[in-house]
Symmetry: C2
Amino acid sequence: MSRGRTSALVVREALLRAARELLDERGPAGLAIRDIAARAGVAPMGVYNRFGSKDGILNALLEEGFAELAAAVTVRPDVADPLGAITTGMGNYRAFALANPAMYRLMFDLPIAGFEPSPEVRMMALAAFERLIDAVQVGIATGHLRPGDPEEIAQRVWAGCHGATSLELRGIAFITDYDTHYAALVRTLLRGLATHPDSESE
Amino acid sequence: MSRGRTSALVVREALLRAARELLDERGPAGLAIRDIAARAGVAPMGVYNRFGSKDGILNALLEEGFAELAAAVTVRPDVADPLGAITTGMGNYRAFALANPAMYRLMFDLPIAGFEPSPEVRMMALAAFERLIDAVQVGIATGHLRPGDPEEIAQRVWAGCHGATSLELRGIAFITDYDTHYAALVRTLLRGLATHPDSESE
């Protein structure tokens, strides 16, 4: 690899790190090109050279976020206890959101007017979601979950966990013990999907 | 009522109507004081005179939104079929969100930096939520739902429906038939909460 190419990659990494820091500190609205460039010690034109546009750096951040989320929710399949594996994965999902609230908002609230994630970002989001689909498929195959479309069933579980997580991040719920509430919601969803509800929970 | 007072109320209503129109047309980010005043045919100072600040008009909009939501989700209690009443109420909740996407975002995403809803708005949000708590209490009292804290159980149902609604509004889900999916999610939540799951659904 030539020295010039190495240097270009180093600059790209520095810009992406600066953008992630600003996202974490200020939220999605704090992502101004000139601030990203200043923090990385690069001229603003350097951002355009490496990422093409502000959308380019947003997509690079989202690729990072979905890669981290996919890693967080990847749980070893457990044919003996597939619902336990889903419970662990959805707990990891919430933990990722609480540790990365601004990234979570960027990923799932589309808070930046006019910005649409790239096809690559959508593929990475699907790859993270497929971890949950896989776990649902194991649950159906082993008879723990009732038969159905694994993708639509996984979407139900995700919707529930996303709703609870979003309300917790905004603090507009009417409960106080979010740990207990989230665990109860996941249990309710899995009991609702289970083949033999009363053997699957509580 | 004096003529001056009547006129002040008329101006207040005109400003609120203009703000609601701008919210619906442009989303929460489109609520600029000068645009609200121009649409109502009032000087910008008129907004400050009637609402005190931009926060005042945001709170007035939110009071309107939560009053509409409470009316939409109010379903006649049905001791013979309390889970049917919850299903109807949560269907009305989604219909309200789809008909008022910008208002829904203002109510539940807190999209405006630095703005916190007033205590009055929080009380009206709680009043809307209490419709669901009431329905859950009927379900527990009649033995259709398993015993538990009605507020926390209602929060589980709300979280699930909020999650599905938010993802639908943003179009970032991986399913296409949102009507069927939402109905299936509500059924899953109620089956998960039911005393006798298999008699309560499908």
